[in-house]
């Protein structure tokens, strides 16, 4: 069971969270303009990396907020969590783990 650092609530057990799969797959602004291949790729193609993975989590049984996380899919080490809508932080080698937000931190 992982420990996941919710940007709002700090370190919490995985039992409170739900994983939403790969992050940064924005829904196209105008889906009608995509051809079937492009739309199929949006719906289904996934990076599925062995290594650092950007993925979505929701603190379902907590603050109820979605956020993004970088996690190493080999070690399952959580590298960083960051708010929805912000770009993927540098995930290069040696990236320091995010400092867990204190449970009392303001958004």
């Amino acid at each position: 069971m992982l420990v996941i650092t919710c940007p709002n609530c700090g370190d919490r057990p995985e039992l409170e969270f739900r994983c939403g799969g790969e992050a940064h797959i924005a829904r196209p602004q105008t889906p009608a303009e995509l051809d079937d291949g492009q739309w199929g790729a949006f719906l289904f193609t996934r990076t599925n990396p062995k290594g650092v993975h950007a993925e979505r989590w929701i603190h379902q049984h907590g603050c109820g907020r979605w956020f993004n996380a970088l996690r190493d899919t080999v070690s399952d080490r959580l590298i960083a969590t960051y708010p929805m809508g912000t770009p993927r932080p540098d995930a290069g080698a040696g990236a320091a783990p995010s400092s867990p937000a204190s449970p009392t931190s303001q958004p």
Partner: protein
């Protein structure tokens, strides 16, 4: 005769507390502090079981959790009835107490005389993997003959047959430092780590008391004190610290992600007087800031012919039985070793008055000071000797040894008579938990063992589990790991060994049966065969021979197997590989893993506010998701069919009352609520006026129907959304996902109100008549309050959101009232309704009535591959909105093409015959298998209001097949049915406007 092998003094047993356990019906005496193993040995019982494959007589190999052979079935609480027996308990770890009833396993008719031992004679055939090479013909014989025979022979003990009489509990815990193992290193680590009172420390050990190997160490001193005194002081210090939790009898068995270490505490089994509610075991799920592994090491057996005879045990185990339990495993013990530690065991045995001889594989000059020390007390030591055989069958009677010449040749045999053997092939650090933590193991040639290398989690190993065997070094390492280096003085330990694989022998190696895995009966020969057949990875060898796969998980066998394979392949050990250790370290009961999730707490049972009333009326219930829903309300003597028929007719003739509380409800609030609804649903919401309702259809992004429900607009910025019962959570999550991640700019908030509002549905011509007297602040006149409208007001004086909706086609209301008031309101309506012929009805009637009208149920007509158009609901898909969830997918080639299944009605040829839901439809049964199936029945009922059976189906190009007669499967064959529009009752659809 009792306890003839009990030494007159010593041991950490309480001789003032005698006790009796039973072994195969025989009463054996012992003392508090004993294990089953020590009691058996005290009573001279070495033969305690039969091996897995060959049914060879087996005894006790070790004193701890690495025991592979002495597995017993134990009835822990015979006095409390059945439900307290389980198999495969290691005699070496079961704490003896009054009343335990134990039995040996895997033999017939008896332990002493086991017909299964015939397998031993067939052992030349039953080699590793023999079953892959035979039993193939005749083909049918595998299932009917070979396999049943193999199965009956395998399997050790008998599974429990009745439900468990015990309870188990669970505890999540957190600490700054978790120390696993309370031997010298673990105690030192805990002492150091807990010095800072702010640091929360948990110290867990699988033994009954902390101390580890020091509990049987009579000779060593630490900081000038006898080891046992040092332990006592350490434990007292830790007990006095409020920041320390010491957990004896607690095995850390799993090291999971993010320093999640899972342990099982044995709470009740050792207590004679355990209170009935006391958990048998408690699962500790510990999240530790840092973990210190002080898990010690395991001794290796020596591999020689017949090394499995009862009475042959590990040298250190002899020492434990003598020192800790005051039991002599034999009167005459031969120690066989390739290292120094066995000399300590021999010295202790000698000191206890046991006749001792020691055989050392090492040459005289390779031995250390231990040689002189042992000889000094008059013990014969044969250096440079190998063991070539053991005599005796149910108990060892002698060890056959022979000198090894400088040229490696084995000299003349000599039999050393004995009644017990202590063997030691060196030591293996217990790196199981380290490996589970995914730390990388490193092979240390000097130590001939894998030791912890690079850590992956916040974890440190200390002491013997990283290859330190000298006591001073071990204790110092513990302090270091605990964060406070300090000098330690301790008496010198006898350490060091020469790796011994398979001992040299003068016998034909092909005939020698020298066991490596004692429980699974894997011999050196088997491993050689595997390698010869090309199984070169250690994982292949394990799987082919089953070595290391027994209940001890290879604790005593892995290194011997690995060393042998490496030798055979002429490779370094790391090149052969090592096993990745997986949880659990020792077997864990399912009960402990489950904890409270049993019986009433297996899963929440969700009941509505009206459940009790329905129950009082004798309702039958069905499970829908986590909910219990009233299914039908049988009157005396009615079966389901009759009850449902009566309910169905009553609703259309008078009125029915139905509990619809389980439908999901979501309040969508905010200035952008309508825009949000537009994006989520296929249909348009902007123009829906407050006070009106609309049926909404929701797709997944892949274009398939996800959920549906009636939505009421309560105000310009407030919608009351309903969902299916099973879809409630899913829909809310779906909405939140899009709202937060795709459209964060929308000012909308979602709140689940499923449980705020209980929903009482009144359906039928007299519905208004029933509610009218109780409703206030709402004009019920149809003109003022038409079908598909919503009003807020009061009923029976409590607030209500009153929906005028119909899932039956009749005049209907769905009365939302705050849940705690629901029963009271319901009873009031019921009281009045009875005078008007009202009936309560359940979900089955609800299903029939909606099917009569052709209304779909998501999850019944749909199955996750159905589009709105398939359902004939294309009209609900807005052509105007540029986008909504799933819109783009509806344009994909497969969704616009022909040949899709479409919703139709079906009328069976025989009006009395109800088609099977799930039945398949074919154009003609006169075709070969596999047949072309063109559809399936989704809903099928007897319709009392139509006076016949009706069905709905998904049928390929169904809407163009109206009128066709098709074939539908029945349990015995086919029947015919005619395709029709999916509306069976009052197609005009005006009754709900009444």
């Amino acid at each position: 005769m009792s306890q003839t092998y009990r030494l007159p003094q010593g041991g950490r047993i309480d001789r003032s507390q005698p006790l009796t356990v039973r072994f195969n019906g025989k009463a054996l005496q012992g003392y508090r502090g004993d294990t089953l193993a020590s009691i058996l040995l005290a009573n001279g019982q070495h033969l305690v079981g039969r091996s897995f494959k060959y049914h060879r007589p087996r005894g006790i190999l070790s004193h701890g959790s690495d025991e592979p052979s002495a597995l017993l079935s134990v009835n822990w609480r015979a006095e409390r009835g059945p439900g307290f027996t389980d198999p495969n308990n290691r005699a070496s770890v079961v704490e003896a107490r009054e009343g335990l009833e134990t039995r040996s396993q895997n033999h017939w008719p008896s332990l002493e005389f086991d017909l299964g031992a015939v397998n031993d004679l067939l052992s030349p055939i039953f080699v590793a993997g023999f079953y892959y090479k035979t039993f193939m013909w005749p083909r049918k014989f595998w299932d009917s003959v070979y396999e049943p025979v193999i199965r009956a022979a395998a399997g050790l003990g008998k599974a429990p047959e009745v439900p468990d009489g015990d309870r188990y509990s669970n505890r999540h815990a957190h600490c700054d430092v978790l120390v696993v193992g309370a031997g010298p290193a673990g105690l030192a680590a805990a002492l150091a780590a807990s010095k800072d009172g702010a640091a929360r420390v948990i110290l867990a050990d699988e033994g009954r008391e902390p101390g580890g190997a020091l509990l049987h160490d009579l000779g060593s001193t630490i900081d000038g004190k006898p080891a046992s005194d040092w332990v006592a002081e350490a434990v007292a210090t830790l007990d006095a610290r409020e920041n320390v939790v010491v957990l004896p009898r607690t095995t850390a068995f799993g090291y999971y992600n993010h320093n999640h270490v899972v342990m099982v505490e044995r709470v009740a089994d050792h207590r004679v007087d355990a209170a009935a509610g006391l958990p048998r075991e408690r699962l500790w799920q510990v999240r530790a800031g840092r973990v210190i592994l002080a898990t010690g090491s395991h001794e290796r057996p020596l591999v020689f012919a017949n090394n499995d005879r009862p009475g042959i045990m590990l040298a250190e185990s002899v020492r434990v039985f003598v020192n800790r339990y005051a039991v002599a495993p034999g009167r005459r013990i031969v120690f066989a070793t390739s290292g120094a530690s066995a000399y300590t065991a021999a010295l202790d045995a000698r000191r206890a008055g046991i006749d001792v001889t020691l055989v050392d594989l090492r040459l005289e000059e390779d031995c250390g000071p231990e040689l002189g020390e042992l000889r000094a007390v008059g013990v014969e030591v044969l250096t440079g000797h190998t063991v070539v055989d053991a005599t005796g069958r149910k108990r060892v009677t002698g060890l056959v040894v022979a000198p090894i010449g400088r040229d490696g040749r084995v000299g003349a045999r000599r039999t050393l008579p004995c009644d017990a053997v202590g063997m030691s092939g060196g030591w293996t650090p217990a790196v199981h938990l380290f490996s589970q933590s995914r730390g990388k193991l490193r092979f240390d040639v000097e130590l001939d063992a894998f030791v912890p290398g690079q850590s992956v989690q916040a974890e440190t190993s200390a002491g013997a589990c990283r290859g330190l065997y000298d006591l001073a070094a071990v204790v110092a390492d513990g302090f270091r790991a605990g964060g406070a280096e300090q000098p330690v003085e301790a008496s010198a330990s006898r350490t060091g060994f020469q790796p011994a694989r398979v001992l040299p022998t003068d016998a034909d190696p092909a005939k020698v049966r020298a066991f490596i895995d004692f429980q699974n009966d894997v011999t050196a020969k088997d491993i050689k065969l595997a390698v010869r057949e090309g199984f070169e990875s250690i994982e292949h060898v394990k799987r082919y021979t089953t070595t290391g796969m027994a209940t001890d998980q290879g604790k005593t066998s892995n290194m011997n197997a690995l060393g042998l394979v490496a030798g055979l392949l002429d490779k370094e050990i790391p090149a052969v590989g090592t096993t990745t250790f997986r949880p659990p370290y020792t077997p864990v009961t399912f009960g402990a893993l489950i904890g409270p999730s049993r019986d009433a707490l297996f899963e929440p049972v969700r009941k509505t506010a009206l459940h009790q009333w329905a129950e009082s009326q004798g309702a039958a219930f069905e499970n829908v998701a986590l909910w219990k829903r009233a299914w039908y309300f049988p009157k005396a003597g009615e079966d389901m069919h009759r009850a449902v028929s009566r309910e169905c007719k009553a609703v259309r003739e008078t009125v029915g009352i139905f509990d619809a509380s389980t439908l999901g409800k979501i309040e969508v609030v905010g200035p952008d609520a309508a825009e949000f609804m537009n994006r989520i649903y296929t249909n348009a919401w902007t123009k829906l006026e407050p006070g009106r309702c609309r049926y909404g259809l929701m797709l997944r992004e892949d274009g398939y129907v996800m959920d549906d429900g009636v939505v009421a607009r309560l105000a310009h910025d407030r919608f009351h959304v309903t969902t299916t019962t099973g879809g409630a959570a899913r829909v809310l999550q779906h909405m939140e996902d899009y709202l937060q991640t795709e459209w964060p700019e929308l000012d909308v908030f979602l709140t689940s109100i499923t449980e705020q509002w209980a929903v009482i549905a009144l359906q039928g011509p007299k519905a208004r008549e029933v509610i009218a007297p109780f409703v206030s602040d709402i004009d019920l006149d149809p003109a003022a309050f038409p079908h598909m409208a919503v009003r807020t007001g009061y009923i029976c004086g409590v607030p209500t959101r009153l929906f005028r909706v119909s899932f039956t086609g009749e005049l209907g209301y769905e009365i939302n009232v705050p849940a705690d008031y629901a029963e009271s309101v319901w009873k009031t309506l019921w009281e009045r309704g009875q005078t008007l012929g009202m009936v309560p009805y359940g979900t089955e009637t609800m299903h029939v009535l909606r099917a009569e009208k052709g209304y779909i149920i998501v999850g019944q007509e749909t199955d996750g591959t159905v589009s709105p158009d398939d359902l004939g609901l294309g009209g609900l898909v807005s052509k105007v909105k540029p986008d909504f969830i799933g819109k783009r997918s509806l344009a994909r080639p497969d969704l616009v093409g022909s040949g899709r299944k479409q919703l139709v009605g079906l009328l069976g040829k025989d009006p009395a015959e109800v088609l099977d839901e799930g039945a398949q439809i074919v154009a003609t049964p006169d075709q070969p298998v596999p047949m072309t199936m063109i559809g399936h029945v989704t809903s099928s009922y007897h319709s009392p209001n139509c006076g016949r059976s009706i069905a709905m189906a998904m049928l390929v190009d169904g809407r163009s097949r109206i009128g066709e007669t098709l074939y539908v499967t029945t349990p015995s064959g086919f029947t015919t049915a005619t395709v029709c529009e999916p509306v069976f009752f009052e197609p005009k659809g005006e009754r709900f406007n009444a």
